[in-house]
């Protein structure tokens, strides 16, 4: 059994490694995340004489909102390509334990995204550390340079990497259920990106606004990036990431069930 699991992992790793788009998508996760984060910190200034109650750590990690879309594409392609090419039938014939196939895909994908995501979030934090002091976020005004030695910053940075991995798992689960790549990526991006827009439209009804901030995957998951004003957040950082983990777990569970029940 453990041998089978190892085989499944190696098979999925080989597929991911040799698939032509993978390396570009992983590079895209890193480059686009760091690019948007850098642009966000460079565009935000804290002029002298004005109180800037911003959250510099969260600002520096803005790029994750972009990077997650690339992560979603990668995760969707990991399974939907198999369906569009018919490869899935070979895969499942070779490894009849369908849950193991999904688990192997999830494990390989998580590893790859965690690696690319780590570079992405560390690069974003570095950009914040280097650029923010020049924008008026100085130590003299209460903004210490971003440092991983700071517990809250470490949580935000490491948590953002975990966030990307959870987005990958959520996307994988949805794609395994939906199968078609275009519909899957649309469903994933809709689930992620529509929530903040609807929440904004519901500002006049705080009840619903808070519900969306608490239970929708993107707003809840990104709570992990907050390092200031935690008492005012609709949901705490780890609780928020936990909600996203719940979404990812539910999607994978539903995926493993449908994978077992349906013909490939």
């Amino acid at each position: 059994m453990s041998l089978a699991a190892g085989d499944a992992l190696r098979a999925e790793w080989t597929k991911l490694r040799t698939s032509p788009g993978t390396i570009w998508l992983l590079a895209g996760v890193t480059v686009l995340t760091v690019a948007l984060s850098t642009a966000a910190v460079a565009a935000t200034s804290c002029p002298a004489g004005i109180a800037c109650p911003a959250d510099p750590t969260r600002l520096s990690l803005t790029g994750v909102e972009f990077g997650q879309a690339v992560v979603a594409v990668l995760a969707v392609l990991v399974i939907s390509t198999e369906y569009s090419t018919g490869m899935i039938r070979v895969t499942l014939a070779a490894m009849p334990h369908r849950g193991a196939v999904l688990a192997a895909k999830a494990a390989v994908l998580t590893g790859a995204v965690l690696a690319a995501g780590a570079v992405a979030v560390l690069g974003s934090a570095l950009a914040g550390r280097l650029i923010l002091p020049g924008q008026g976020f100085t130590a003299a005004r209460g903004f210490a340079p971003l440092s991983l030695a700071d517990e809250a910053t470490l949580r935000a940075v490491a948590g953002s990497d975990l966030y990307l991995a959870l987005i990958a798992l959520l996307s994988l689960g949805i794609a395994a259920i939906v199968r078609d790549s275009a519909a899957s990526i649309g469903a994933v991006l809709g689930l992620l990106y529509l929530a903040p827009i609807i929440a904004h439209a519901l500002l006049a009804s705080p009840h619903w606004y808070n519900r969306i901030q608490r239970y929708a995957p993107m707003p809840a998951g990104l709570a992990i990036q907050s390092t200031a004003g935690l008492a005012h957040l609709p949901i705490g950082p780890w609780a928020g990431l936990g909600v996203l983990a719940g979404w990812a777990a539910a999607a994978l569970l539903a995926a493993s069930i449908t994978l077992r029940l349906r013909d490939a």
Binding site: A43, A54, L59, E65, A69, S80, A182, Y193, L194, I197
Partner: protein, 537 residues
């Protein structure tokens, strides 16, 4: 024995190559894929459902002292609406007399001062300290109004806190006059003349050389107009940006104007000057006294509070719960995602199945194939989007009204522009998705590119912790600029409010913003046409 063989030529051959045939072929491909048709219907339904959700989910609740909690309309005090139907604030202090016919009033203003509780409290939790100062749009001057009923038509000339002399009429119109602040060293002379329904405003720095600022026709002006000196001062708002949002602190303010050299000509009723708070008056308190005037000879010192101005839409402005037309079209984002999927698949499915080779063999002029696909995708999307937008707005307005919201009244043509513009936005998104599909050929990547390009900048501009200035640039330069076409309410320079994308105010004019998206779509179509011609299918 020989026989002549006549090659078979199908009779329909002539005309096969016409563009109409190509369109028909693409339309047949579209409508026979049940998944796409169902997808379009789902997109439309999602657009309607999401659009109605905010209005339906809202709960306007209030509680009168000791009484039970009430909901909805019972909580909303009636809002006056101006001559064009838009909600307005109309409260000021008037020292007036009836003007029964044509006539004029001239006055000199030597001072305008104000105060508001905007300072730090001396004790924690105590009353904020009083600050002596004006609001940018504190006003003192002359007014001729059809009546003292709130929302009635008027024309006025005034000195303002920091916007110089202005002539304003019927709430939404604003013309600049002399610049600079008023003081005893630099007094401002103002004059209003009435001739029938036409009121003309003049200003002067010395009372000798007069400049005409503008003229207004005030249709509701009957014989018995109310006219005189007025002072008003809008709420002081201090906005603090918070973690991921901004919150406002709103405080009342008063202004005091000193008038002299009051001169009347024409049909003024021979009555004494009477002072009164029009439209409920301002927010006065023990520390912030007002709603009064003092007369010594022809010198008047008048203190008032309130505003004579339109109420801007936006959740960060105090006042009644208003709803704009475009707030019911938030579901366009959901439809946009559906449209991006279907339009991209319209192309990429052909590549996946190899049908594209057949399509291009049948119609070797590849640019025309691209055009036909784009047109069919855009036309279908426009029709479906238009139907969904009409339903969402119609039903949304009805629901919001029943909930007690004040619907922000805009001209019917503006509603048409918002609704048709939303459908057009979706149609251009479809064209963009077709073009990106041709360029990238992979449906997942194409769909992600289109969605991210349009939706992500909007999220960053509207619902992120980025500063408002960044949001304005994002809604100028990225495809998200197109959502300007949904903005139904104008930004009023003469009203202090937060005119940011987050509040529904876009930096570009509606069609200019839409043109930005069209530009991106045209660029993508151009690149797609070149690549389709150069690459093997």
């Amino acid at each position: 024995m020989t026989a002549t063989m006549t090659p078979y030529r199908p009779r329909q051959q002539a005309g096969r190559d016409s563009f109409a045939q190509l369109l028909h072929a693409e339309w047949t491909k579209f409508r026979t894929v049940s998944g796409w048709v169902i997808g379009m219907v789902v997109a439309a339904l999602a657009m309607i459902a999401l659009g109605l959700f905010p209005a339906g989910a809202a709960d306007i609740a209030c509680q009168s002292a000791g009484g039970p909690a009430s909901h909805g309309k019972a909580c909303v005090s009636p809002v006056p609406s101006g001559p064009a139907g838009e909600p307005v604030t109309d409260s000021f202090y008037l020292v007036g007399r009836p003007l029964t016919g044509n006539g004029s009033i001239t006055v000199r203003l030597t001072s305008l001062t104000g105060k508001y509780p905007g300072g730090r409290a001396s004790t924690p939790g105590g009353q904020p300290a009083m600050i002596h100062g004006l609001q940018p749009w504190s006003k003192a001057g002359l007014i001729i109004a059809a009546s003292t009923k709130p929302g009635s038509a008027y024309a006025a000339v005034m000195v303002t806190g920091s916007n110089g002399v202005r002539m304003q009429y019927d709430y939404t119109h604003d013309i600049a006059g002399l610049r600079g602040a008023v003081s005893s060293a630099s007094a401002r002379w103002l004059r209003l003349t009435r001739s029938g329904p036409t009121i003309t405003g003049y200003d002067s720095a010395d009372g000798v050389h007069w400049t005409r600022i503008g003229a207004a026709t005030v249709p509701g002006l009957t014989a018995a107009a109310r006219a005189g000196l007025f002072v008003t001062s809008p709420l002081h708002s201090r906005i603090t940006s918070d973690f991921g949002g901004s919150s406002g602190q709103i405080m009342p303010s008063v202004a005091t104007g000193t008038f002299d050299h009051v001169a009347l000509t024409g049909a003024w009723q021979n009555a004494a000057w009477t002072g009164r708070d029009v439209g409920g008056g301002g927010n006065y308190s023990e520390q912030l006294t007002g709603g009064k005037y003092r007369q010594a000879g022809d010198r008047f010192v008048v203190t008032g509070s309130g505003d004579i101005a339109p109420i801007p839409a936006g959740h960060e402005y105090p006042g009644p719960p208003t709803v704009t037309v475009e707030q019911h079209l938030i579901g366009a984002f959901a439809a946009l995602i559906g449209v991006a999927i279907i339009a991209a698949l319209f192309v990429t499915a052909e590549y996946r199945r190899g049908l594209i080779r057949l399509t291009l063999a049948a119609s070797p002029r590849r640019g025309r194939v691209l055009a036909a696909k784009a047109i069919v995708a855009a036309a279908v999307t426009f029709v479906v989007g238009l139907a969904a937008a009409v339903i969402a707005v119609t039903a949304g307005v009805a629901i919001a009204r029943s909930q007690g919201f004040v619907i922000y009244h805009v001209p019917a043509l503006t509603v048409v522009r918002v609704v048709a513009g939303t459908a057009a936005l979706l149609a251009v998104t479809a064209v963009l998705a077709v073009a990106v599909g041709v360029i990238l050929r992979r449906s997942a990547v194409a769909v992600a590119v289109v969605i991210v390009a349009i939706v992500l900048p909007y999220i960053l501009a509207v619902a992120s912790i980025l500063p408002a200035g960044v949001g304005e640039w994002l809604t100028r330069l990225t495809p998200a600029a197109a959502f300007a076409v949904q903005q139904s309410v104008p930004a009023y320079p003469q009203v202090t409010a937060i005119y940011t994308p987050a509040n529904g105010y876009f930096p570009l004019a509606p069609w200019a913003g839409f043109a930005v998206l069209c530009g991106y779509a045209a660029l993508a179509v151009g690149v797609a046409a070149v690549m389709l011609r150069r690459r093997d299918a």
